[in-house]
Amino acid sequence: MSPALPITRALREAGLAGLVAAGLAFPILVLGTEMNQSNRLVLEQRWSWMAIAAGLVFVGRFLVLMFARTPKRAAPQIGGLVLSPVLSRIGVIALFLFPLVMLFWLGPQGSLKWINNYGVQILIYVMLGWGLNIVVGLAGLLDLGYVAFYAVGAYTYALLSTHFGLSFWICLPLAGLMAASWGAMLGFPVLRLRGDYLAIVTLAFGEIVSAVLTNWTDFSNGKAGIMSIPRITFFGLPFTASENGFAATFGLEFQAIHRTMFLFYLILALALITHVVTLRLRALPVGRAWEALREDEIACRSLGINTVNTKLTAFALGAMFAGFAGSFFAVRQGFVNPDSFTFMESATILAIVVLGGMGSQMGVALAAVVMVGGTELLRELTFLKEVFGSSFDPSLYRMLLFGLAMVVMMIWRPRGLISSREPSVFLAQKKNVSGTHVQEGHG
C-alpha cells in the first residue's frame, strides 16, 4: 500500500486535474454543433457540461489519490490469480449447465436472449481469443489483422452454401482449411519482418481483405453482403416446425430455443477443441518451438529450429481456428457483410488476448467474459433512463466505456488479468511462473 497522501495535497492535485479537464472540455463539450432547418451548422452552448466534466474528474482523481494503491512502475508482478485445473474443470461444467439452468429459470422465451447474446457471443470471442493466442501469446508474433481469417471462414461458408448448396458440416473443415492457407499466404511475405513492421503488414492485410470484400461486388455482393445463408441443421435435421424437422423427429414441441441451444453447444465444442489442441500442441515440438521463438529468435536459429516453418504453422493454425469461428458466425447470423470484419474486431480480439494475460488460456477466457459480457450488459441498463430522463440512451456509452475499460485494465494489470503462466517444460515439479518472466517476442 502506498502511503496515503495528506488530504490537502490530494485536494490540490485533484483540483489541478479538474482544471485540466475543464480546459480539455472547453470547445468540444461546451459548444455543440447542431444542424438547423436550413441545413447549416449552428453552435449550441452548454456550459453546464464543462462543470460536470471538471467535477467528475476532480472527484475521481481525489478518490484515486486517497484510496487506490499507486501502481508500482515496472515492478515484477508475482502471484496474481492462480487457477488450478480443478477450477477450470468447474468452469467447463458450469458452461455445459449454463443454457439448461437459464432454460429452467427463464423458460424457452426468456432464456433465448441470454443464451444467444451472452453465451454464444462470449464463446465466439473466447474461441477467437484462443486462436489468436497461438499467434500472439505463444509464438509472439503481433497480428493486427486476425479478423481477415474470421472473414475468410465466414465467406467460405456463405459462398459455398448459397452457390453450391454445401451443408455446414462439409463447409466447416473447408473454411478452416481455407483460412489456414490464407494464414500461410500472409505468413510468407512477413517472415523477414519484425516488430511493428510485422504489425503494420498484418493490419494492411486485414484492411485489404475487407476492402476487397466491400468492393468486389460480383464475388461477395459488396456492402450489401450475402443474405439467406442456410441455417444450422442438427446433422441434417433442420430446426423447423416441419414434419422431418428436429422437433418432430424427437417428438418435441417446436421451439426456437432448440436451435440456439444447439448453437451454444456447437460453439462450446469448437472452443474446447481449440483449447485442447493448443494445450496438446504446446507439449509437441512445434509448440515448444513457438514458445522458444517468442523467447529468443536468435537462440532458436542457432539451435537449428526452422523459424520459417515455426512462424508459418503458428500463422496457419491460428488462422484455421478463426476460419472455424467464421463459418460458425455465418451459420449463426444467416447473413454476412464486410461490416462485421473491421479493424475494430481485430483490436477487440487482440485486447482480449492481452488483457487476459498473453499465453494464459484461462485469462483469455476470463477477459472475453469481462469485455464482451460487460459491454453486452450495458445494453440492459434501461433503468438509467428513469434516472437521467428518457432521452438518455445508455447503449450510446457502450463503446466509450469499452475503450475506457481497456485503458484502465491495462494500467491496473499491465500483464493481464492472469499474470502467472504454466510452464510447458519443467524440472521435477510444475510451478506457476510470473508473466514478467515470459518474453513477448519480437515478431
Partner: protein, 305 residues
C-alpha cells in the same frame, strides 16, 4: 498530360496531410517505441476543435476576415489538441512506461475507441458540413482536354505544411529541446543520467505531434468541408502506413512516406479504380517491406546477442 498534372497536384495536397500526421506517429515511435494508435483519433478530434472554433468565430463573434479566422483556428486547434494529447499521454501511456511492449499498444487502442465514441456522444454521429472557404482557383493550363486547376486551398495546404516542416526541422535539429529529444531517442537511460528530463521530453514530443496533427486536422476540415467522428481511423492508418513506408523513426521518411501514399492513392484512383485505392496503398507497403524490411529511410535494427 493534363490529367497527370492535375492528379499530381491533388496527390501532393493529400500527401501533405498524411505527412503531417505521420510525423506524430514516427516521433512517438522513435522516442518510446510505441505505436500510438490513438493518433488518428487525435487528428479527428483536432478537426472537430477547428470546426467549433471556426463556427464560434464566424457566428458568435461575427469575424469576417477569412485569413484572420483561419489563423486563429489553426493556433487554437494546435494549442487545444496539444493539451489533449498531453493529457492522454499522462493518463494512458505514462503509467505503462517500462512495462512490456503490448501494454501501451492496447492502452492506445482503447484510447482511440474512447476518443471516437466520445466525439460521437458529445457532437452527434452526423456529418458536419463546413461552409466552403478559399474557393478561388488558378488555371494552370487551359485549352487542353480540360483546365488544370490549382485551388487556393491546395496552395494553402502545401505552403502551410512546408513552412511547418521547416520550423519543425529547425526545432529538432537546432534547439536544446530537439537535442534532448534525439538523445532520448538513442538511449533514454543515458540521457536521463546526463540530466535530460526524460518525462518532460516525452510529453513535449506528444505535444509537438499533436500540434502537427491539429494543423493536418484544420487543413482537412477546410479541404474536404466535412468532418465526422469516424474520420480518424482511415487517415490514421494511412499516415501510420506512410510512417512505416518511410522507415519508422525517421522524420524525413515520414514526410516522404506521406507524399508517396498520397500520390499512390490519387493516381490509382484516377487511372484504375477509386474502389481499390486503399488496396493499392497497402499493397505497395507490403511489397516495399518485403524488399526493404525497415522502410525506405529506416535504419535496420541490428540485433546483438
Amino acid at each position: 498530360m493534363e490529367n497527370f498534372l492535375q492528379q499530381l497536384i491533388n496527390g501532393v495536397t493529400l500527401g501533405s496531410i498524411y505527412g503531417l500526421i505521420a510525423i506524430g506517429y514516427t516521433m512517438v515511435f522513435g522516442i518510446i517505441g510505441m505505436v500510438n494508435f490513438a493518433h488518428g483519433d487525435v487528428f479527428m478530434l483536432s478537426a472537430f476543435i477547428a470546426l467549433i472554433i471556426f463556427l464560434a468565430l464566424t457566428q458568435l463573434l461575427g469575424l469576417t476576415s477569412l485569413g484572420l479566422v483561419f489563423l486563429i483556428v489553426l493556433m487554437g486547434a494546435m494549442v487545444l489538441t496539444a493539451l489533449w494529447n498531453w493529457a492522454i499521454e499522462r493518463v494512458a501511456y505514462r503509467p505503462l512506461r517500462g512495462s512490456f511492449r503490448l501494454a501501451p499498444l492496447i492502452s492506445a487502442i482503447g484510447m482511440s475507441i474512447f476518443l471516437a465514441n466520445f466525439v460521437q456522444v458529445v457532437q452527434g454521429p452526423r456529418n458536419k458540413p463546413v461552409p466552403p472557404m478559399f474557393t478561388d482557383v488558378i488555371h494552370v493550363t487551359s485549352g487542353g482536354a480540360f483546365d488544370v486547376t490549382l485551388s487556393y486551398k491546395q496552395i494553402l495546404i502545401v505552403s502551410v505544411t512546408g513552412v511547418l516542416l521547416l520550423v519543425f526541422w529547425y526545432l529538432v535539429q537546432k534547439t536544446a529541446l530537439g537535442r534532448a529529444q534525439r538523445a532520448c531517442e538513442q538511449d533514454r537511460t543515458m540521457a536521463a543520467l546526463l540530466g535530460v528530463d526524460v518525462d518532460r521530453t516525452i510529453s513535449l514530443t506528444f505535444i509537438i505531434g499533436a500540434a502537427l496533427a491539429a494543423v493536418a486536422g484544420s487543413l482537412y476540415m477546410m479541404y474536404y468541408g466535412v468532418v465526422n467522428f469516424s474520420d480518424g481511423f482511415t487517415p490514421g492508418v494511412k499516415a501510420f502506413t506512410a510512417a512505416v513506408l518511410g522507415g519508422i523513426g525517421s522524420l524525413p521518411g515520414a514526410v516522404i512516406g506521406g507524399l508517396l501514399i498520397g500520390l499512390i492513392e490519387t493516381f490509382w484512383a484516377a487511372y484504375f479504380s477509386s474502389d481499390y485505392k486503399d488496396v493499392a496503398a497497402f499493397s505497395i507497403l507490403i511489397v516495399t517491406l518485403i524488399f526493404m524490411p525497415s522502410g525506405l529511410l529506416g535504419r535496420p535494427e541490428v540485433e546483438k546477442v
